[in-house]
């Protein structure tokens, strides 16, 4: 299988502080790839750079055969890269349905959009029941579902999910993780960023461990799950 996304020697800085210090990784078509690591490891910075919100100081990003680092943020989604950001960032004063429709902002096929809205409601029935409700009034878990549903509305080739389980109850977290498995089964390629290493690695084909801006370890999800240093650092075992 070919790599859908290829990142080579990526560096990103905030002013004088370098947050990502030359990382290389790839995401293969049809797989779930995870970046794990503690707070401040540079995972979110990496995703924000991939979607054009931050500009790299160095490095090469190739997505679906195209160089990304000079493409402005608002054009990235049309290339097939969708980003569900950390902290969900739904549009609080708009309804659930309006949020989903914004996910399809660049699409012109109204029949297909209607179909995809219904598909999002099928994936997350609670959203369908409250479609006219202001998104800001939803619970954290429901907002997460909405953020994922919204990202799917562009029919992406690659779905990037940043901390989808953050702040959720264990039950809601299970539901979100089950959805990721479901999406993978339907052929969606996913790049996942998680602090919940156990849950993330157990559903991933490949994982990368980040520490202070660098990738320190890589392997299949199962390998990393059984790796002693990972177990110590991220799974709370001595």
């Amino acid at each position: 299988m070919t790599a859908l996304l290829e990142v080579e020697d990526l560096r990103v800085s905030y002013g004088k502080i370098e947050a990502v210090k030359g990382i290389s990784f790839s995401v293969k078509q049809g797989e779930v790839t995870t970046l794990i690591g503690t707070n401040g490891a540079g995972k979110t910075t990496t995703l924000r750079t991939l979607s054009g919100l931050l500009k790299p100081t160095q490095g090469k990003i190739t997505f679906d055969g195209q160089a990304l680092s000079t493409v402005p943020a608002h054009k990235i989604v049309s290339l097939g890269l969708a980003h569900s950001p950390e902290g969900r960032h739904i549009f609080p004063r708009m309804s659930i349905e309006e949020n989903l429709l914004l996910g399809a902002f660049l699409r012109k096929d109204s029949a297909g959009i209607t179909e995809d809205v219904e598909r999002a409601y099928a994936l997350f029935p609670i959203l369908g029941e409250r479609r006219k409700q202001a998104a800001g009034t939803l619970s954290g878990g429901e907002q997460q579902m909405l953020a994922m549903g919204r990202a799917l509305m562009s029919r992406p080739k690659l779905l990037m999910l940043d901390e989808p389980s953050m702040g959720l109850s264990p039950l809601m977290m299970q539901k979100i993780m089950a959805t990721i498995v479901e999406l993978k089964a339907s052929g969606t390629t996913i790049l996942l960023v998680e602090q919940n290493a156990q849950a993330a690695l157990s559903l991933s084909d490949r994982g990368y461990v980040m520490e202070t801006g660098r990738i320190v370890l890589t392997g299949t999800g199962a390998d990393l799950l059984h790796d002693e240093s990972v177990r110590k650092a991220y799974l709370g075992e001595d």
């Binding site: 979607s51 054009g52 919100l53 402005p72 943020a73 608002h74 054009k75 990235i76 989604v77 049309s78 969708a82 980003h83 950001p85 902290g87 960032h89 549009f91 609080p92 004063r93 708009m94 309006e98 429709l101 914004l102 996910g103 902002f105 660049l106 800001g136 919204r150 562009s154």
Partner: protein, 309 residues
């Protein structure tokens, strides 16, 4: 309490003017959190744009016929000035500390005043503005001039068009999204730079309509007409809840009516006869602002900005 209906009408007319200008402050603030203090001067250039259009029309053109062209000319000039200001003065400062664009706005405001004063023939002492024929019209005990009729028609039309644009069009939805969360709007594929330009242009267009109404009502346009009008309109925007387009119009109307009533009636309160009349109108307008901000800091229709985490 004589002439109350007339005072209310005067207040609503003045308020329509404030509201039309206030929309420009509120839209730009809602999207880029910038107080565009040059907006009063953008309003002023619209007045001169309309006057110029009238002057190049063949002499003797009926004013009701000339009016649409004057509006077009005024809107064109205001929009050009506003879009150029955004592109060359504000955009390079995006991401800079908030004080930098604010000072730029004040500088731009003075520059525009001076340019018109120096280079527009006869502008310094004010140029007389053509007057609509006909009138005055008497409706019950209220007397209205043709210029008042123009504003009573133009303000609701503009407001309705804006509401439809923001609520129903794709670009309008992009504008709402950009106001609520600019980074995430980009992730949706919204060109936020373009949305910002549109916000400046729309605000300028409404300011130009107000400038034509101003010229018709007061009979002249001058380089400094944007100063107090802009300050009042900014007050209206804050009063209504800055960032909210309906709040801007509501704030304008409330401010206009309060000013008209204060001018007419404060002097009738025992012991306050020296605090009434036209010379105190501005004082009461700003007193109203202070009182509203004390009781309701987010303005009449504003929301607390806690959801902007």
């Amino acid at each position: 309490m004589h002439e109350l209906p007339q005072q209310l009408a005067n207040g609503l007319i003045l308020g329509s003017l404030y509201g039309l200008i206030a929309i420009g402050y509120t839209m730009v603030y809602g999207i880029v959190q910038l107080i565009n203090f040059a907006h009063g001067e953008i309003f002023m250039t619209g007045g001169f744009g309309a006057l110029t259009t009238y002057l190049i029309l063949p002499p003797g053109t009926g004013l009701w016929l000339a009016l649409p062209l004057m509006l077009l000319g005024g809107v064109l000039i205001s929009v050009i000035v506003a879009v150029a200001a955004e592109r060359f003065a504000y955009r390079p400062l995006r991401g800079a500390p908030k004080l930098a664009p604010l000072i730029t706005a004040i500088g731009l405001s003075l520059a525009l005043q001076q340019v018109v004063e120096q280079f527009y023939p006869g502008a310094k002492s004010g140029r007389s503005f053509p007057q609509l024929p006909g009138g005055p019209y008497h409706i019950g005990s209220v007397t209205l001039q043709p210029a008042d009729i123009f504003l009573f028609v133009a303000a609701p039309l503009c407001m309705g068009a804006l509401a439809a644009f923001v609520g129903k069009t794709r670009t309008g939805r992009g504008m709402q999204a950009t106001a609520q969360d600019p980074d995430t709007a980009k992730l949706m594929g919204i060109n936020t730079d373009r949305i910002i330009v549109i916000a400046f242009a729309l605000g300028a267009a409404f300011a130009a309509v107000a400038a034509v109404g101003w010229g018709l009502r007061y009979g002249q346009v001058s380089p400094t007409m944007g100063f107090l009008a802009g300050l009042k309109a900014f007050t209206a925007a804050v009063l209504g809840g800055i960032g909210n387009i309906y709040g801007a119009m509501l704030g304008g109307l409330v401010l206009g009516v309060a000013e008209a009533l204060a001018t007419a009636y404060i002097q009738e309160i025992p012991g306050m006869h020296q605090l009434g009349g036209g010379s105190w109108a501005n004082v009461w307008a700003f007193v109203l602002l202070i009182v509203v901000l004390l009781v309701r800091p987010q303005g009449l229709l504003g929301e607390r900005v806690a959801d902007r985490a």
